[in-house]
């Protein structure tokens, strides 16, 4: 059944190329060892974290660092760190799995992912041999805690505009660091900071490894936050802090590139983590719906509640499908770069950069799925959901940050479209050809083709059409607005969302198709197919609405009419009794009293 892999899908290429279901990785394929690692993460959360959420959120002194140390003792922090630095050298997909399973731990999840991600990886991937051997083993074991200092009071989304300065001292042995950083996760207890600052009058940032115990570093008290109250977030002041020259990380002026590449990883890891959070919260909501009686019956018997359970379930399932699909693409690309002779670090960075579009899309989608799940779970809990004693109240507050950090969702949406268009300009992604073909198709008499032979073929047909809708709208917007398009952010947002919905819809369909071809039409696979159908149905409506909003904002007259007709055709789907589909999905979760996949 499984064919040899064809040339892998490049980043962003999903828009113009179809994927063979056999070429994707699905979470059903985790091997025994990976499952054991996942179980270790889950058990750790259950025993050490979920039992102490109040203590964690009250910022009990020393608790969070000790939890990081404990999870470090289990080796989980070093899962993808090379063995020579005390890690276990597992592949990228495995590190995504640990991110997912640790993602259900509220504030702890943020602390641990900041430590193992942005707190550790800049040194791992850009450090010299000396820097790596000095810091990485201790970061991997949790003995040192890491933090990443990029944001400043005046420099958030515009990250390269920071004012923190580094100047070389007279004998050239030290940089003198001055400035202020803000919103630094783990700031209150980290031992090592990666600090971004400009050397002298440089236009671009450079990165420095700074020991937290250095003279001249002071912290403001912990920020009082809406959620993730147990995670440390501080302002940090650098006042004539001496940093040895050997602590410059990477090259001078390379800091912004480091920052962005680390953020690429952070984005897809965040998407993994929110899946863990969503699954946990969803199960809480299902259990409550089964227990709570009103009007003489459990509220899980009511359609209004079932609909919520179903939608939360298939959004989570679809997001997960997309996240692991992209993770495997990254994994494969890393491997092929290594075969070409790149060092491991370089291969990882380049591998992830190659899918920066997917990383940005999944960050947006994942954070919004978790927010949706948290919001509807509060609704299922009713008044209890508004009580600070319920788990979903915490989930609701804690979820919100994900749309803000690691690049706001607006910035990531713009990046998604911007990176696509840049690839097209550079010629690495041929969008022009397919866009022209769609434009031609608009003029021609519609080709209704032959009826699809299977449900999968039919659903793939829908996805193909969604792609045409995007190519039509984005192609025409680029042509019409040219350089002005960058200022038409509303259109960029719409195109980004259409891309995201299409990518995720295609991913969930490919997953179900692959499972079905391997295992047959089992009960599980039938239900998974229902989830794919429901997701695609919703995606089609969203794409239709966003497409119309975009079109009417820049086209007019005959052209507008023609494209509106085209959009209608490209988002046309057979009638689907979505109510029934959702009921079926919800029924299974309700029967098993949990989110089952």
């Amino acid at each position: 059944m499984i064919k040899e892999k064809k040339e892998a899908l490049k980043g962003g290429e999903f828009l113009i190329r179809e994927t063979d279901p056999n070429d994707i990785f699905t979470p059903e394929e985790f091997d025994e060892e990976q499952q054991m690692i996942a179980e270790t993460c889950e058990t750790f959360l259950q025993q050490e974290v979920l039992t102490r959420l109040d203590e964690i959120d009250s910022m009990q002194k020393g608790l969070m660092p000790s939890l990081i140390e404990k999870v470090g003792e289990l080796g989980v922090l070093g899962v993808s760190i090379p063995e020579e630095y005390g890690g276990f050298n597992k592949n990228f997909v495995t590190s995504m799995l640990t991110a997912e399973r640790l993602g259900a731990g509220y504030s702890f999840s943020v602390a641990v992912s900041a430590h193992a991600g942005i707190g550790t990886l800049p040194i791992l991937y850009y450090g010299t041999e000396e820097q790596k051997s000095k810091y990485i083993p201790k970061l991997a074991s949790g003995e040192y805690k890491g933090a990443y200092c990029l944001t400043e009071p005046g420099s958030g989304s515009d990250a390269n505009s920071g004012k923190t300065k580094a100047t070389l001292n007279a004998d050239g042995s030290k940089y003198i660091l001055n400035g202020q950083k803000m919103w630094i996760t783990n700031g209150g207890f980290a031992d090592v900071f990666t600090v971004f600052a400009k050397i002298d009058e440089d236009e671009n940032l450079s990165a420095f490894i700074v020991d937290a115990s250095s003279e001249g570093i002071t912290l403001n008290p912990e920020e009082k936050k809406m959620g993730i109250k147990g995670s440390s977030t501080c302002q940090i002041f650098f006042n004539n802090v001496e940093v040895p020259v050997e602590n410059l990380l990477g090259q001078r002026n390379e800091g912004f590139k480091i920052a962005l590449n680390i953020l690429n990883i952070g984005r897809i890891k965040l998407a993994g983590a929110v899946i863990g959070g969503a699954k946990g919260t969803l199960t809480e909501a299902i259990r409550y719906a089964n227990e709570r009686n009103q009007f003489g019956r459990p509220i899980s018997k009511y359609g209004a509640i079932r609909q919520k359970i179903a939608k939360m379930s298939y959004k989570t399932f679809a997001c997960e499908s997309a996240v692991y699909r992209a993770s495997q693409n990254i994994e494969d690309r890393i491997a092929s770069f290594e075969v070409e002779g790149m060092s491991k670090s370089e291969a990882v960075l380049k591998g992830i950069e190659a899918y920066a579009i997917e990383c940005a899309m999944l960050k947006v989608h994942g954070s919004e799925v978790l927010d949706y799940v948290a919001d509807e779970s509060v609704q299922i809990f009713g008044g209890m959901g508004y009580s600070a004693e319920s788990s979903v109240e915490r989930a609701y507050r804690d979820s919100r940050i994900n749309r803000i950090f690691e690049g706001t969702n607006e910035i990531n949406r713009m990046l998604t479209v911007d990176m696509m268009l840049k690839k097209a300009m550079k010629g690495t992604l041929d969008l022009m050809g397919p866009a022209q073909a769609v434009a031609g198709e608009l003029m021609a008499i519609p080709d209704f083709g032959s009826a699809p032979e299977s449900e999968f073929e039919k659903l793939h047909g829908y996805i193909k059409n969604f792609k045409k809708a995007i190519l039509m709208i984005a192609g025409s917007a680029v042509q019409k607005l040219m350089m002005e398009l960058a200022k038409e952010q509303e259109i960029l947002m719409a195109v980004a969302d259409m891309l995201i919905e299409t990518y995720v819809a295609e991913s969930v369909l490919l997953r179900v198709e692959k499972r079905t071809s391997l295992e047959g039409e089992t009960e599980d696979n039938k239900l998974k197919l229902e989830m794919a159908r429901a997701y695609i149905f919703d995606a089609g409506s969203t794409i239709n609405q966003l497409g119309n909003e975009a079109l009417i904002s820049f086209a007019e007259g005959d052209e507008l009419r023609m494209m509106t007709m085209g959009l209608k055709r490209f988002t046309k789907m057979d009638a689907l009794n979505i109510k029934l589909v959702r009921r079926n999905i919800a029924q299974r979760m309700i029967d098993e009293n949990k989110y089952v996949f």
Binding site: E39, T40, L74, G75, F88, R297
Partner: protein
């Protein structure tokens, strides 16, 4: 110390239980299996602690088919040195005890440890039967176990108090809550599990004296009917006609 720990696979406690073959067989389809918690959290972990303090080796033994290998490797990941699987379906307690006793007989174990019961069938028989077959002393339900020289001191929780027992080694014991604390397998353990020896041994002929006739699930709780407090007639009517209690 040479310690043998019996490990069995049981369904995860959140599993949806169903039966097949006319309700005579437990349906394993779609079930997530785990190591029986009494075997894992208490017996195995205490065995590992004893080994860490006194030296020696911990071997696990499982009567089961190849689908038990994942839970055996979990035990190896937690820290057992090696594992043995007797390649047979554990059809009943005596059959299983015979397999374990036959394997253990000439191996010179100082301690053979069981969980006090499995969380699926709750038989609490295999340990006692194995001890009988091996002609060794047996202490059940121990919540603490210390070894000094050639004897072990065990504490048992009994109704309203506890009992302390010294027993000569070699001995067979079964572990209950409190004997040790769960250990989460670490990355090192997980990665070494595949490299450790898992020996598959052919079963011996052993009699099967019992046969399961049927399984059934507990009756589903029926839906609650709410009756208006001002309407006692309806209540009486329902108690009479539906519940048939008056």
């Amino acid at each position: 110390m040479k310690i043998l720990v019996a490990i069995s696979k049981v369904p995860d406690s959140t599993s949806k239980i169903s039966f097949k073959d006319n309700n005579t067989q437990f349906d394993e389809a779609g079930i997530q299996f785990i190591v029986n918690p009494y075997d894992e959290w208490y017996a195995l972990v205490r065995a590992l602690e004893l080994k860490e303090n006194l030296g020696g080796a911990v071997t696990t033994i499982t009567v089961g088919e190849a689908n038990a290998d994942p839970v055996i490797r979990k035990a190896l990941a937690i820290g057992a040195d090696d594992a043995v699987r007797i390649d047979a379906e554990p059809v009943d307690a005596l059959f299983t005890a015979n397999q374990i006793a036959s394997f253990a007989r000439d191996k010179g174990y100082d301690l053979i440890m069981f969980g006090k019961e499995t969380i699926n069938y709750n038989g609490s028989q295999v340990g006692a039967m194995a001890a009988g077959l091996l002609d060794l002393p047996y202490v059940s339900n121990a919540s603490s176990l210390e070894v000094s020289g050639s004897s072990a001191r065990l504490e048992r929780d009994i109704q309203g108090g506890s009992q302390v027992i010294d027993v000569d080694l070699p001995a067979v014991i079964s572990a209950s809550k409190g004997m040790a604390e769960q250990r989460i397998p670490n990355m090192k353990g997980i990665m070494s599990a595949r490299k450790k020896k898992l020996e598959v041994v052919a079963p011996i002929e052993a009699p099967r004296h019992t046969e399961v006739l049927s399984y059934s699930l507990p009756e589903a709780k029926s839906e609650v009917k709410l009756i208006d407090p001002d309407n006692p007639t309806e209540l009486i009517e329902l108690l009479h006609k539906e519940a048939k209690v008056i």
